[in-house]
Amino acid sequence: MNELSSVDRPNSYIGRSVPRPNAKRLVAGRGQYVDDLRLPRMVHVAFLRSPHAHARILSIDSAAARAAPGVVRVVTGAEMAEVCTPWVGVLHHLKGLKSAPQHALAVDRACWQGEPVVAVVARTRAEAEDAVGLVEVAWGELPATVDMEAALAEGTPVIHPALGDNLAFMREHVGGEPDACFADAESVVVQATFHTGRHTGVCLEGRAILADYNPAEGRLTAYHSNQAPHMMQTVFAKHLGLREGDVRVICRDVGGSYGIKVHVYPDEMATAALSKILGRPVKFSADRMEGMVSDIHARDHRIAARAAVTKDGVITAMEIDDLTGIGPYSVYPRTSAVEGNQVVNLCGGPYALRGYKARTTVVFQNKTPTCQYRAVGHPIATTVTEGLVDLAAEAIGMDPAELRRRNLLADDVYPFKNHANLSFEGLSHQACLTKLLAMMDYEALKAERDALRAKGVYRGIGIASFIELTNPSPFMYGIGGARISAMDGATVRLDPDGSVAIASGVTEQGQGTEAMLAQIVAGAVGVDIARVRVTTGDTETTPYGGGTWASRGAGIGGEAALQAGHALREQILVIAGAMLQAAPEALDVRGGAVVDRATGAERLPLEELGRIVYFRGDTLPKDLPRELVATRHYTPKDYPFAFTNGAQASYLEVDVETGFVTLLKHWCVEDCGTVINPMLVDEQIRGGVVQGLGGALLEHCVYSPEGQLLSGSLADYLLPMSGEMPDIQVAHVETPTKESALGAKGAGEAGTAGAPAAVQNAINDALRPFGARVFAQPFTPARILTALGKI
């Protein structure tokens, strides 16, 4: 770790499993989630949502609702449109992406079951719901476009006639010479069609916002369960006709996010607008049932894919045809084309392919809108890629681990530009695979599997290598015209008591952002971590920034904090030098005191330095700078994204009589560069793995042909529970990015990226004696029994 010299200081916390400072508050039930907050004159909103997938709003009669007890106001789409302007979810760099204007409340037509149509504001949520039941809407049902396969077919109703068709976006990419590879007579071609079931995030805390517009000041304060306060500040200002400076967004504790709480939701926009209309605080707390039809969904893809492999084990080419249905609107402002775009970018990613051809077709349909959810596109691309690799191994009779070893990018080829034009600064596929196989004792596990198979017990081993995109630069959203900051800042300040305060633009939803920032700054300045406190999630008091998403908190926010911490230390040393009549270079800050750099002997406690600077500045030289606060910003410049990589494995048992899968064990080795806090990184991985396992085995947004969500409660949308989840062993390889002094890349999504592929491959390994295979997630008993020919 010699590259780490600038962070590896005497009292560095980098690499140490420090507990999170905010966890103590949360275990005591002292969190402050939006729904916990209450303001004077606060009222509650409930929404009448469309019961139909597609219907014209012929008329709305709200007289009875307006007269109901406790009701403050009933607002329809037409009235809302006067206060809140519509938005269109497109980005310029996603060429050809189109979408229709979307309103906070549907104006004359509802386009999915669950779209908000009428807002009722009342003294209590219960009264608001009572009155929603009294609103009478005359609906004119329209034919719904539900099946994405038929979305572009002749005769399928076009959801937005002004757009001409139901095609939102299409992208094709060809790298190298795929056709020649597939035509090669010496190669074997394997193929399969994969389905990744539609999922949703199900944050245990539903989406929530408490909007407080103060007419006297003309200012809106929004307490928001959200990952990107500055982005929301811009959006509220733009669509409510306010100046950005007159909007303050505060994100305190957030009860889970995973990418769900980083989008613009019509009901949340409507709540902010209602506060402006009423001039009083309005709270919206999505209940679970409305969350299931209005939180973004994701991963509704069908991918036809094939790969060419030479008989001696060189994977030469892959071809991917991806189709995805995104609901009736591309979600604002990140758009719903990013996931399909990622599938094109990421397939085959761990390998050096000679030929690559990929296409994504993104279509509109009358279902809940989809958008970016944890590991955007990665689980899909990994499932396809690693599914093909296992098919290739089987086709040429090679051990799947061996085929990977032969084809994964070598650890010394970097920098490397791949078949999808992705630039890799430095990855460690081979090292990760080697470590994974050792950790799981691959050979022993295979022997166990084989021995049990002879006894009629069907176990399978599945491996998946993957790449993960982290630390996005402006190339992700900014170049497309979205005001989503790729830069983040940190302000670090020494107070007179010798404590250090950090304010950062990245946000905390439980990942450990605040712990990570405290660790970095404590080390950079030279104080005990207990003397550091962190503020995040407030547009008024933190430097402008992007928030936490796309695994950017540590890599970008952490680097800004590191630089700011260093700057504060320099400031301290200059002042201390003057006070101690010493050269600043001869001093250092360690353990909360200025020390002699060479001997470590304590010269001046920071509280004494603080006392003099703040209260007895008269004793200091007149021209001495007295700043004890520094702000630094960071944005990645050399690479559009910092790619990370890893490998996962799943060991499981399939009951071939019932089709039930029992997960026995899961392993993940991943490389996120510098590991700041091993415990926090491991738990990010584990949590991510289980979200991936949920998608692979249990979770599914199932729709009726009419576009009704059938799995719309937690009794039907099955989340992973503790009883069925395995223990997960995690290990790391560290290849720090050289772009930053910290060297950290992201780790938040790696678990989710690889887990479904590992499970798919393990199930197919278990089923191999029967010649049965499954490629449609979730891998339910019904699908496994069908593959086995038993039903």
Partner: protein, 274 residues
């Protein structure tokens, strides 16, 4: 979601319950453990105008054994049922079923009476009652009437309970030392079963009661006869004619039929090994 408004009344005697039922008629609902009803209220799937809380009615509590019959009061919580020594001795099938019902917190509140009165076709206890050939004691102002389990479950969430009646207890002839087994397949711990089977041996005969395969828990007499004769394959084959399972999110009817056959095989092995 929050429930629609309703009035609430607490009863401590059966007489009070009957009074309240008479006054409020169909717009009233009895509240026992609330583990199904309160969820339905929160979802506004049910909106009675009055809830009659029967949790304080002592006459509906208690487990006793007399004259070869076990009597289980309707307010017996699932957790009590699972821990009761009389139940373990005389109706071990019920004790076996309890760990499969939901989770600890729900078992602490949910009652056998609520489960039977609700008659969820995927629930364990209604099928057990059927396999045990229990008798349900229905109380009204006119007195008690006894209904055999097979006559109690009449359709999807439909039972023989009349609007003026309360399910007071179930009575079960002792099954001490008679083999029984409960088999079920659920996706996760505590989930309602995709398919389940409550099997109770009885003097040379065998009673198979299925849950999750139809509108009500059901018996399969032909499979019972085949299995009693030791013909497992014949019993499995008979199921095709006796079960007509629905399609739902878990899969097509063929899934349930197949799983039922598997469970039958497992039940046969379990009973044999008893």
């Amino acid at each position: 979601m929050k429930p629609a408004p309703f009035a609430y009344a607490r009863a401590t005697t059966l007489a009070e319950v009957f009074d309240l039922l008479e006054t409020h008629g169909d717009s009233a609902r009895l509240l026992a453990g609330g583990q199904s009803l309160v969820a339905a209220l929160n979802l506004r799937l049910a909106s009675p105008s009055v809830l009659l809380d029967i949790n304080g009615v002592a006459a509906l509590r208690g487990i006793s054994f007399a004259d070869g019959r076990l009597r289980i009061g309707a307010l017996t919580r699932h957790a009590e049922l699972g821990a009761d020594p009389l139940v373990a001795q005389h109706a071990p099938l019920l004790a076996q079923a309890v760990p499969h019902i939901a989770h600890a917190a729900i078992r602490n509140r949910g009652t056998i009476g609520g489960s039977l009165a609700l008659a969820d076709p995927a629930a364990e206890l209604p099928a057990c009652i059927l396999a045990l050939e229990a008798v349900l004691v229905l109380a009204s102002r006119e007195g008690e009437r006894r209904v055999a389990a097979r006559d109690f479950f009449q359709g999807l969430y439909q039972t023989a309970l009349r609007g003026d009646e309360v399910l007071a207890a179930v009575e079960i002839a002792s099954q001490a030392d008679v083999p029984c087994t409960l088999q079920e397949l659920a996706r996760r711990h505590g989930d309602y079963a995709i398919v389940g089977l409550a099997a109770q041996s009885a003097r040379g005969a065998l009673r198979l009661a299925w849950f999750g395969v139809g509108a009500t828990p059901l018996r399969t007499p032909r499979a019972e006869a085949a299995l009693a004769a030791g013909d497992v394959a014949g019993a499995q084959a008979a199921l095709a004619g006796e079960l007509d399972p629905p399609e739902d999110l878990h899969g097509p009817p063929a899934l349930r039929l197949h799983l039922a056959r598997v469970l039958l095989g497992r039940a046969a092995a379990a009973l044999k090994g008893h």
